[in-house]
Amino acid sequence: MTDVNSSNIAPAPSGVSPSDYISSLTTEQIDHDQKLGIKAIRLFLQSKTSYDVLPVSYRLVVLETSLLVKKSLNILLQNNIVSAPVWNNKTSRFAGLLSSSDFINVIQYYFQFPDKVDLVDQLTLNGLRDIEQALGVDQIETISIHPFKSLYEACVKMLESRSRRIPLIDEDEKTHREIVVSVLTQYRILKFVALNCKETKMLLKPIKDIKSLNLSKNLSTSTMDTPVIDVIHMLSKNSVSSIPVVDDTGKLINVYEAYDVLTLVKGGIYTDLDLTVGDALLRRAEDFEGVHTCTGNDRLSTIMDTIRKSRLHRLFVVDDESRLLSVITLSDILNYVLFGDD
């Protein structure tokens, strides 16, 4: 279990009394710098391609469509990844991405039709589309982008389709068949920006003053005693990647992530759906990163610095008593960088 107090509450930027320096700036100066910084980052995203983000040599795990869903789950956990591109051997084509939302769909299907246990047990990746149809959930459009298109375009495509990752697809020069080159996530793009774009230091505006990061969200929460299946329904219904766990006073104490679903049904066991969130969270790996929080006075410069240092997928905005106020997701940040502050 993670103690929120010990988790990464955005650290103050290092240097010679930086807060003095920042407080010496007028609001106009900060506004001006913020605009310049955002513009520079935008230019950076336009000038670099998805290919640039890739290391010189890297690994890519691909799954075949006739693989059983439960085995795919083991492969994901074994390789410590949360998603993988799916490849159709028969057509030699890219067949979409397998991600935690697929497992959420399977769980919901099983919950709805508990008599179809055999079907769920023998379900292949091919069959996931049928499950989606039976549940009536929105089919996630399979988007992709060429690796030599700019990062900016990749971000736009991701935001439009509300997906957190985008596969990079090219065509073989000789056979003209698709090649899955890699998959980029919002986190990797933002980390790339945080590492290689020094203009992130200019983003000194407190996030409470940034309009597009403060849109009121209909935040669903759960308590430690909520049945985990209810939380899974919430994840699916709101198409979000996590549900914050709060106590009676509204204090943030933990978070249930879509990724945690993978460990819940590990080994193809769908019988633990009546657990409470608290019990389900006990299955989480020892090296869980923790819950990242920030306050309205924090700045994007420190948030980007945290992204550079640790793997985070969202920040919960809390008040001084660590009561949950709002959430800032990576999409929110990307959306602001791409379209905000004009």
Partner: protein, 398 residues
């Protein structure tokens, strides 16, 4: 997987002419008895993705009688030149590398002499006053100043050993990268420029040096080739025109391949050269007939058994080993499986970054043993200037 079994143990049935299998085998054995006294030590012949760590790098040979085997890994043209001896030498080479202590887990380039450096020009043409370069070649500590050129560009020529060198520029105290050089993110996610010095670069540079020493007349001409070489570093182009020509002329004097099927040179591309066997070369002018029937040895259990019995007798008479029971040996380069170096629990490495593969392992298929009815295969391919190691999981056919 390519075949590298030496004549003494070429019991891979596909390599043997079935119609006269027994004479062939015995002649092969006779030949090997002349060449070898001790049987080679067997090694695993499957590439393993996980569980085990087979990260043995090739050590430079210390066995003086077979120095050709060493150069074979470095330059294709050399391979052609030394075709005969190189072919008979793999067993000593492999046993040698097995006895040697495991080398440090450095870049997969230990075949070449790391003390040899190739001049590499590093150029900055994006302005600035004070231009420095810093990189993996100085441990990222020292900065090396670049000299301003008449055209306002900055230039430095560094002597770099084989390997991939990452670097960045420091322009007026600001860390930058060049838009005109290859770029990539390293394992930490930093965006850097990089240059790749391959064993071919070193060898062709050494060749040119040797030629330059030979004649003063050609010096000016060779110097122009040297600069050619300098600019082509980072590419994985074949050696420069000089060594290429020599390779063709050498192979032209050579006789045809063992089956007498081809008239092209021995260079198969991708660093491979055609397999030659000295005693089979003698049968060169024999004409072979193509047939559509599957030879009985593959379909008739009786013939198969007879064949195996015969080979077993031969090998028992030779050294008591049942050589044919074992699969052929794996070329030593392929033992370096970069996926075995991958720690999937490393949270900092969220881009799945792997070490740079040695080019000889490209386009090979690696696999694990089949577990839970799931087959996983992997292969490393080039994508533009980067390497993708794709691992595909597929179920066995049901």
């Amino acid at each position: 997987m390519s075949n590298s079994s030496a004549p003494g143990e070429s019991k891979d049935i596909s390599m043997v002419d079935v119609s006269n299998a027994l004479p062939d085998v015995s002649s092969g054995d006779n030949q090997s008895q002349d060449t070898f006294t001790a049987p080679p030590i067997r090694r695993k012949s499957t590439l393993i993705l996980t569980d085990e760590d087979h990260m043995k790098l090739e050590e430079p040979l210390t066995n003086t009688s077979n120095t050709d085997a060493d150069t074979m890994h470095i330059d294709r043209s050399q391979t052609n030149l030394n075709q005969g001896p190189a072919q008979s030498s793999p067993p000593p080479a492999s046993s040698q590398s097995q006895q040697s202590p495991p080398p440090p887990p450095a870049q997969a380039t230990a075949e070449a002499d790391l003390t040899v450096t190739v001049p590499v020009e590093i150029k900055w043409s994006q302005g600035g006053e004070k231009v420095y370069v810093t990189g993996s070649f100085t441990g990222w500590r020292k900065m090396i100043g670049l000299a301003r050129q008449p055209d306002n560009n900055f230039l430095i020529t560094l002597g770099l050993p084989v390997g991939t060198h990452r670097f960045r520029f420091v322009i007026d105290n600001e860390l930058r990268f060049s838009d005109y050089l290859p770029t990539a993110t390293d394992q930490m996610g930093n965006f850097v420029n990089y240059v790749e010095v391959t064993p071919e670069n070193v060898q062709s540079y050494l060749d040119q040096q040797a030629h330059a020493d030979l004649s003063d007349e050609d010096k000016s001409e060779l110097e122009s080739q040297l600069t050619d070489e300098e600019t082509s570093v980072g590419d994985v182009q074949p050696p420069t025109s000089l060594s290429r020509k020599s390779s063709i002329s050498r192979s032209a004097t050579r006789s045809d391949s063992m089956w007498g099927l081809t008239n092209d040179d021995d260079d198969m591309g991708n660093g491979y050269s055609r397999y030659h066997d000295e005693d089979i070369d003698a049968n060169l002018h024999k004409t072979y007939q193509f047939i559509n029937d599957i030879p009985p040895i593959f379909v008739d259990p009786k013939v198969m058994e007879q064949y195996y019995m015969a080979i077993e007798k031969q090998s028992k008479a030779q050294n008591g080993q049942q050589a044919w029971l074992h699969p052929p040996q794996l070329p030593p380069h392929l033992e370096n499986v970069i996926l075995n170096n991958f720690n999937s629990m490393d949270r900092d490495n969220n881009s799945g970054a792997l070490p740079i593969p040695n080019h000889v392992v490209l386009n090979h298929l690696a696999t694990t043993s089949i577990k839970h009815n799931t087959l996983s295969v992997a292969s490393i391919v080039r994508y533009k200037r980067k390497y993708v190691t794709q691992v595909l999981y597929a179920p066995l056919q049901q």
